[in-house]
Symmetry: C2
Subunit: 183 residues, 2 copies
């Protein structure tokens, strides 16, 4: 209940308002109950794909217009409201700030590795790259058969067609931002 549902909430409310329709009107036209529509607009519900289907079909709008974030919008991502996508307690946490979306050509993540821990990642396919910017600590990166040390404030770009390992060989926490891209 935290990312796409909020897009749907804003988008649905926007189309309804610009069309000057009431919740009852939309309920009538889509076959989705008024209460559900209200909850969706308030971001209190995580609708099913069939419900979305009824809405887009009844309102005759493209699916993506509900689901995508209007790209004029300002988007604020709170780390708090963001549960780590991959996480091993006491080892590492991987946060998705701007994960894949069709309209973008890159993705932004944050990784946090605890002292003496590491994380191994498989390849991401041909012509994929990561840009790592270290915010705190020292990152030891193993990629393309070599080992790199990236210090706080530094940044690296490398191809990710092959396996790569992020490790924290220090006694302080390591944090870095990942921009992932392809082609």
């Amino acid at each position: 209940m935290e990312y796409i549902s909020q897009n749907v909430a804003r988008n649905l409310k926007r189309v309804r308002k610009t069309r000057k329709m009431s919740l009852d009107d939309v309920a009538e036209q889509t076959g989705v109950s008024k209460s559900m529509l209200g909850q969706i607009e308030r971001g209190e519900s995580n609708p099913t794909v069939e419900t979305l289907g009824k809405i887009v079909s009844g309102l005759r709008i493209p699916f993506t217009s509900l689901v995508n974030s209007a790209n004029t919008d300002i988007i604020i991502v709170n780390k708090e409201s963001l549960l780590p996508f991959k996480s091993v307690e006491g080892e590492y946490q991987f946060y998705e700030y701007f994960p894949y979306e069709e309209s973008r050509t890159f993705e932004i993540y944050m990784m946090q590795i605890h002292p003496r821990a590491k994380n191994c990642s498989g390849g991401h396919g041909e012509n994929t790259f990561e840009y790592l910017t270290v915010i705190a600590g020292i990152l030891t990166l193993e990629a393309e058969g070599k080992i790199y040390e990236i210090k706080e404030g530094d940044s690296i770009r490398f191809p990710t067609h092959g396996d790569h390992i992020y490790s924290n060989n220090t006694d302080e926490i390591l944090k870095f931002v990942i921009t992932f891209t392809w082609n």
Copy 2:
């Protein structure tokens, strides 16, 4: 659980298979449980938008590629599996065979009106039209301030910017197919 979920089912299975991934692989990459993915692929579940979000994001595919019916597909719509969208028992039933979808420029419905019953419809906006083909009975249509009688086998096209009324003034059931279009 009946239309879009089936698209999702087929589409998800197709991408997974072409990528030669197991359910475990997809679960790992998306953060959606293996059992859920299995149910989705078997068309046994009606996933929420957040779950879909995790899938499209993890697999890096466009939202629409899950949701749309591959337009090479043959689509069979069973009346049985299709609960009437609008229905008043003993009066009329309105079935959505091919409702709005972005990739199409028309929609196809079927309407069934019981003896001596009628159905009133508001306007659908500028430059919208209906093509009605009567399959059984006699349709009495009121539109644009005039009254038309359409007999079994006949067809009519008329603009639907204004109110219109379908009535069955006979003692037999009335059935007709509606093709709705715009512009």
